[in-house]
C-alpha cells in the first residue's frame, strides 16, 4: 500500500493548502462561513484532527480519549495567561508540552495493549481525567464553572516587562497584536499550516513508513525483531502534542477552560472528523473538521422561522410537515444529524470524503481502469 508521491506533488499540495488558508475569508464568504470565529474553529479542530490522524491513520490505534489532551492543553494555556503573561507564545508552548507529557504517561500504559483494549484503556484514562477535573482537582480546574481570568492574577512576566492591561479583563495578544478577529484567525491559520507541514513530513518519513507497517501487520514487525512500542508511543505523544496545541489555541481565542472539553463525546467527535475526511490521508482530517464544524454552525443556527422560510414554496400543509421533520435534524437536533452522518459514512464510505473524491476521479478517468479504486486506508481493530 505504498502511495506514489513526488516532491513536486507535495510542494503543490502545500502551496494549495497555504493559498486556501490565506484566502479562506474570500473562499468561504459565499457559503456564509467568511467570519473569523468560524474559520478559527476550522483551523483549531483541523489541527486536532491532523494530530489524531497521525496516531489513528498511520498506526491504526483507535484512541477514544484524545479529548483529555485537548482539555489539558486548554487548562495549561489559561494558567499561563493567569500566572505568566497574556502573550500567546508561552501559553501554546506550555500547552503543547503538557499535552505531550500527559500523552507520554497515558500512552506508556495504554500501548501495552492493542485493538479494542487500547480503545477502552484510553477511554478509561480520559474519563478519569474528566471526573477528577470536575471533583477533586477543582483548585486547579475550577470545577464546573471552568477556569477563567480574573483581575487579581499575578501575570509575573507582564509585570516584569511593564505590559499594562486596561481596566477590563485583559485579552490575549502576540507581542501587542490582538488575538481577536482576523489577526486571530491568521495566527491559527499559520499554526495549522505549520502543523500540516509537520504531518506531511511525518507521512513521508521512514518513521511514518514504520507506523504504517505497524498498522498493516504488527506481528510480522515483531517477528522480524523490531520493537514497535517506541514508534507507536512516539506517534501517540506527537498526536497528544497536537491535541494540547489545539486546546491551547482554543484558550487563545477564548481564555476559558472547562472540563466538558474532556468528555468522551468530545473524543468521539475528533474520531468522526478524521473518518469523515478520510483516515490515513493527509488532507482528509482537515476536510472532515471543516465540514463538521461548518455544518454544526449552520445547522444549529436554524430555527423554526428559518425553516418555514426555506419551505415557503410548498403548500401550507406540506410546509408544516416538512418543517416538523427537518426540525428534528437542525437546531437543537443537530446531534441527530451528526450521528446519522457518522453511521452513513462508516457504512457506505469507510474511506471518508477522500475516498469519495478518489472514486469520482476514477470515474472521470473512465473506462480503462474502471472499478480500480484505491482505498486510501484500511482500518484495523
Amino acid at each position: 500500500m505504498i502511495e506514489k508521491h513526488s516532491r513536486r506533488g507535495d510542494l503543490l499540495l502545500l502551496l494549495g493548502f497555504a493559498l486556501v488558508v490565506a484566502f479562506a475569508p474570500t473562499i468561504f464568504e459565499p457559503i456564509g462561513g467568511g467570519y473569523p470565529d468560524l474559520l478559527q474553529k476550522f483551523a483549531i479542530y483541523g489541527i486536532f484532527a491532523v494530530g489524531f490522524n497521525i496516531l489513528f491513520g498511520l498506526t491504526g490505534y483507535l484512541s477514544f480519549g484524545h479529548a483529555a489532551f485537548l482539555g489539558v492543553g486548554s487548562y495549561t494555556a489559561v494558567w499561563s495567561f493567569k500566572l505568566l503573561t497574556m502573550n500567546v507564545l508561552p501559553a501554546l508552548v506550555l500547552a503543547t508540552v503538557m499535552g505531550g507529557l500527559f500523552a507520554l504517561f497515558i500512552g506508556f500504559i495504554a500501548l501495552r495493549r492493542s485493538g479494542i483494549y487500547f480503545s477502552i484503556l484510553t477511554l478509561a484514562f480520559a474519563q478519569m481525567s474528566y471526573n477528577l477535573a470536575y471533583s477533586v482537582l477543582t483548585p486547579i480546574t475550577n470545577g464546573e464553572t471552568g477556569l477563567q481570568l480574573t483581575h487579581g492574577d499575578p501575570r509575573v512576566l507582564d509585570a516584569l516587562f511593564g505590559v499594562q492591561h486596561g481596566d477590563g479583563l485583559p485579552s490575549t495578544d502576540l507581542f501587542g497584536m490582538s488575538m481577536s478577529g482576523w489577526s486571530g484567525y491568521y495566527f491559527c491559520g499559520v499554526v495549522l499550516f505549520a502543523m500540516f507541514y509537520v504531518s506531511l513530513r511525518i507521512f513521508r518519513s521512514p518513521f511514518g513508513m514504520m507506523l504504517r507497517a505497524v498498522k498493516s501487520n504488527q506481528n510480522r514487525m515483531n517477528y522480524t525483531g523490531i520493537n514497535t512500542r517506541p514508534y507507536t508511543l512516539a506517534a501517540f505523544v506527537i498526536s497528544g502534542m497536537y491535541a494540547g496545541l489545539a486546546g491551547g489555541l482554543m484558550a487563545v481565542t477564548d481564555p476559558l477552560a472547562g472540563a466538558e472539553r474532556m468528555q468522551w463525546t468530545a473524543s468521539g467527535e475528533v474520531v468522526l472528523m478524521t473518518i469523515l475526511g478520510g483516515t490515513g490521508t493527509l488532507l482528509g482530517p482537515v476536510l472532515g473538521a471543516g465540514v463538521i464544524k461548518y455544518f454544526e454552525n449552520i445547522f444549529s443556527a436554524f430555527n423554526e422561522a428559518t425553516l418555514m422560510d426555506v419551505f415557503s414554496f410548498l403548500p401550507e400543509t406540506l410546509q408544516h410537515g416538512a418543517v416538523a421533520i427537518t426540525g428534528l435534524f437542525v437546531g437543537e437536533g443537530w446531534h441527530l444529524t451528526l450521528g446519522a452522518l457518522f453511521m452513513l459514512i462508516v457504512i457506505f464510505l469507510p474511506g471518508g470524503l477522500m475516498e469519495g473524491v478518489n472514486r469520482i476521479k476514477a470515474l472521470f478517468r473512465g473506462g480503462l481502469r474502471r472499478g480500480e479504486v484505491r482505498r486510501p486506508a484500511t482500518m484495523t481493530g
Binding site: R112, L121, M128, S135, H335, L336, F342, M343, V346, I347
Partner: protein, 342 residues
C-alpha cells in the same frame, strides 16, 4: 459493621444494573463478535418504555366540579385518568404499578428493536474491523438518544416506584443491630432480586435448553456448528434480541432509582464496557461477577472515611481497577485463554 453492610447493599443494586447491561454486551460479543457501543442506548430505550407507559396510563380527563371552588373562585378541576374511569380500582392499581407493568411492554418492544438492529445494521459489520463496529454503533447510539430527546425533552423524568415498596426497609433490625442503622429502600431490594432472577434465567436458558446449547456451541466454534447444518445466524439474531431485552428490562426497573434522561445510556455504557473488560470479553460469568464487584467497590470508595484518605477515589476507582486488570491479566477475571488477549 453497620456501615459495612450498608455499603455492600448500596453497591449491590448498582452492581445489578452493571451486571445486566454487561451480560448483554458480552453475550453479543461472545456470539456475534461485535463490539456494540449502542448497548447503553438499549438500556435507555427500556427506561423510556416505562416512561411511555406511565404517560399513557396517566392520560387524564379534566372535568369541572361547580359545587367546589378553588381559592380563585373558579370551579375546581377534577382530573381523573381515563384508565380509572374505564377499569375502576384496577386502573388505580395499574397506575401505581406502572413501572413493573412496563416490563410487559418492554419485552416485545426491545425484542423487535434488537432483531431489527441486528438484521438491519449489525449483520453487515460481522466481517468489518472492530474499529468500524465501534464507530457505527456509536453513531447509532447518538441517533437513538437524540430521537428520544426530541420526543421526551432533555430533562430527567422521575418515575415513582409502586407505593407498597416506596419506603425503606430497616435491614439492621433483621440482623440484630440497633434500629435505624442500616436503612435500605425496598425498591433497591426489589431491583437486586430482579437482577438475580434475570441473570439466573439467562444462564438457565443457555445451559438447559437445546437452543442455548446450540448457541454455546456456536460461541465456541461457529463454523463447525454451521457445517452441521444448523442455521446459526438465525439463533444469533435471537441472542441479540435477547440481549436487547435484558438491557431494556434493566432499564425499566432502574427508573425509580435514577430518573431516566436521554443520555443515561451513554453514562452506563462506558462503565459497562469496563465491567465487560474486567470480567473478560465474552465471559458471561465474568460479566456478572465483575458487575457486582465493581458496584460494591464503587460504593465503598464513596464512603467518607475512604474519601478523606484518598480524595476523588470514588470518581476513578472503576477505571483504576480496569487499567490494573488490563495490564496484569488482559483476558479479564474469568475470560477464556486466548480470547482477545493481545
Amino acid at each position: 459493621m453497620d456501615a459495612f453492610v450498608l455499603q455492600i447493599l448500596n453497591g449491590l443494586d448498582k452492581g445489578g444494573a452493571y451486571a445486566l447491561i454487561a451480560l448483554g454486551l458480552t453475550l453479543v460479543f461472545g456470539t456475534l463478535g461485535v463490539v456494540n457501543f449502542a448497548h447503553g442506548a438499549l438500556f435507555m430505550l427500556g427506561a423510556f418504555c416505562a416512561v411511555t407507559l406511565q404517560k399513557l396510563l396517566s392520560l387524564e380527563k379534566v372535568t369541572e366540579d361547580p359545587t367546589q371552588l378553588t381559592a380563585w373562585g373558579t370551579p375546581m378541576e377534577i382530573r381523573t385518568p381515563y384508565i380509572e374511569t374505564w377499569l375502576g380500582d384496577l386502573g388505580t392499581t395499574l397506575i401505581d404499578y406502572s413501572v413493573p407493568v412496563s416490563i410487559l411492554l418492554a419485552i416485545p418492544v426491545m425484542l423487535v428493536v434488537g432483531v431489527v438492529m441486528e438484521r438491519g445494521l449489525i449483520k453487515h459489520f460481522y466481517k468489518r474491523p472492530h474499529a468500524e463496529q465501534i464507530l457505527v454503533t456509536f453513531g447509532l447510539a447518538i441517533v437513538l438518544q437524540e430521537v428520544v430527546k426530541s420526543f421526551f425533552g432533555a430533562n430527567p423524568i422521575p418515575q415513582p416506584a409502586p407505593e407498597i415498596v416506596a419506603g425503606s426497609a430497616d435491614i439492621g433490625l433483621l440482623l440484630g443491630m440497633d434500629p435505624g442503622t442500616v436503612v435500605y429502600p425496598w425498591w433497591r431490594m426489589v431491583y437486586l432480586l430482579f437482577s438475580a432472577v434475570v441473570i439466573g434465567l439467562v444462564f438457565a436458558f443457555l445451559q438447559f435448553t437445546t437452543f442455548g446449547m446450540v448457541v454455546r456451541a456456536g460461541m465456541a466454534d461457529r463454523e463447525t456448528v454451521g457445517l452441521l447444518g444448523i442455521d446459526i445466524d438465525r439463533r444469533f439474531t435471537i441472542v441479540f434480541g435477547l440481549a436487547a431485552v435484558v438491557a431494556g428490562m434493566a432499564g425499566v426497573m432502574y427508573t425509580p432509582i435514577l430518573s431516566p434522561d436521554y443520555h443515561m445510556g451513554m453514562d452506563f455504557l462506558v462503565l459497562s464496557f469496563v465491567v465487560v473488560v474486567v470480567g473478560g470479553m465474552g465471559s458471561l460469568g465474568g460479566a456478572v461477577a465483575a458487575g457486582f464487584l465493581l458496584g460494591i467497590l464503587q460504593s465503598f470508595a464513596s464512603m467518607n472515611e475512604v474519601k478523606t484518605i484518598l480524595p476523588g477515589i470514588d470518581q476513578i476507582i472503576i477505571y483504576l481497577v480496569a487499567v490494573a486488570i488490563l495490564l496484569i491479566r488482559p483476558r479479564g477475571l474469568m475470560g477464556r485463554r486466548g480470547v482477545m488477549e493481545s
